[in-house]
Symmetry: C2
Subunit: 310 residues, 2 copies
């Protein structure tokens, strides 16, 4: 039996790391030879969950075809968000909750996507369908993933299924969802100590929208001033990234996790797409986006639509 | 509540028609407002099943955006195999057992693909997951779809899950799988009476492979001479299609359902890809392909690989 690697997207968030760990454990229980790995640094929020539940982080890799022929993707499908050499391996399975784009296979595969708030919610269903019980530590990580992706069940991406899954997982993990959740989110939202480079790559995802190349980075903050009191420095780094990667737009979205709003800093030659999408005027390159907390549901589809009908 | 259309691919086969009917019935049982439709003529094999189980064929449509905003695809995902205006509607769900290609959404969706022999096998699982019982007539159609896609459970695409599903469905439908199956397959494999135009469009699917545009048509035959005694006429029609649609290759695959082999007639400027893929030499534009019965598993991936590494 040849080993299969399981991993989430580049610049991994809690769902990318924890769904890889949880799905790998399920596959192993079903007799598969798999190893969960990660495509980037573990962020502070995820580290809090790993420490709390005493689980070792998955091994970091940059390429996969040097090790295996087959892979399983969780929490992503778009090739620019995946391993650098994803075209050189066969994707056996995808478990995801995002749109499908820039994804193509030559062979039939197992693809399970559902429009829920978190990949871990789907992984939980798969445990149930296969009649495998979830260990306490893994349940804690899966609950953390749901808390992270849904901002403690408050994001508009959060569905009834996510709420039920989070509650059941919290019970198995023996945690109070709100108490644990707030500490966990805060661990990831302390931005004052982060370097500018860390800030812009922490949760940055690249998208093709029409003929445009866009990066949308999102960070959670308890105090947005921790970011914007370094705006000049931040803009310098973003403009360098835009030039290096020939981007048409970089949206840097800072989400206030206590008030559930966001402030966007937009740079690049296509910033007017941001103004058009959100019906705002950028002042000092920034705009306040009331109620916007979800990149997937409140930013990507709307911005894609604007770029495609430009 | 706005109506949603459910449909399989163009040039529909039994799975495309019957999985649309079966999944629509499940969705209606779950309270959705859906209508199964079809993107082309009902073939003789499918008609046999519809007549046998006394089910009315779904309504035929060519475009969908004039009627609805949202659709559900079964048994396909590639846009060139779908409704002509598929880009103008939102794909809410896909239930499929093919590779994923030329498929992209702006929004998260429900996507359920499994590498099994037939879409109906997945639809059967969805009935079970939702605790909905399958009516006798619908079970008959689903069993027919599995028989059709797996050539009575003998194709290499057939999995253990397809075998179990077919047996359970046959029991609900009160049919003998082998007796019914052979009559049903023969109804679709009587090619002597079919016009050349019918033959080349009956089950033709278009693919993009690397930079090449390819059509692979497949017909089931009890006697392959019913086709090849009209080879000159057939080649004329295929060459016209190649010129009209600027195809690089047309593979016309005639599958002998009694012996489980195929003979291919290949035309177009890239016929050498066929020779390279199957390690054969075309004689009189034809080659015998022993043991080849599945386009999806034994033709498309191998030919795609050859075109991509040309």
């Amino acid at each position: 039996m040849k080993k299969i690697l399981i991993f989430g997207h580049k610049n991994p968030d809690t769902d990318a790391i924890c769904s890889a760990l949880a799905y790998a454990e399920l596959k192993i229980a079903l007799g598969w030879l798999v190893e969960p790995v990660r495509l980037g640094k573990v962020n502070a929020e995820t580290q809090y969950a790993l420490d709390y539940f005493r689980v070792t982080e998955p091994r970091m890799v940059e390429t996969v075809s040097n090790e295996v022929e087959d892979v399983i993707l969780v929490d992503h499908n778009e090739r620019q968000q995946s391993a650098a050499d994803i075209e050189k391996v066969r994707v056996l399975e995808v478990i995801d909750h995002h749109r499908i784009a820039n994804f193509e296979t030559s062979n039939p595969l197992f693809y399970r996507a559902e429009p829920v708030g978190c990949t871990a919610t789907i992984v939980k269903k798969l445990y149930k369908e296969h009649g495998v019980t979830i260990r306490k530590e893994i349940a804690g990580l899966m609950a953390s993933a749901i808390i992270s992706d849904t901002l403690l069940l408050k994001s508009p991406t959060c569905t009834e299924e996510d709420v039920i899954a989070a509650r059941e997982l919290a019970e198995i993990a023996e945690i109070d969802l709100s108490d644990y959740g707030l500490q966990f989110l805060k661990a990831g939202a302390d931005l004052a100590k982060k370097s500018i480079d860390e800030l812009i790559s922490l949760d940055a995802k690249e998208f093709s929208m029409g003929d445009y190349k866009v990066i949308i980075a999102q960070v959670n903050a308890v105090d947005v001033h921790d970011v914007f009191n370094r705006q000049a420095e931040l803009e310098e780094a973003l403009n360098k990234k835009i030039a290096d990667d020939r981007l048409d737009l970089f949206m840097f979205v800072v989400t206030d996790i206590l008030n559930n709003d966001s402030t966007v800093l937009a740079l690049g030659k296509e910033v007017r797409a941001v103004e058009q999408t959100f019906h705002v005027t950028l002042i000092d390159n920034k705009a306040f986006l009331p109620g916007v907390v979800s990149r997937k549901k409140q930013v990507v589809p709307q911005l894609t639509h604007v770029f495609e009908t430009y």
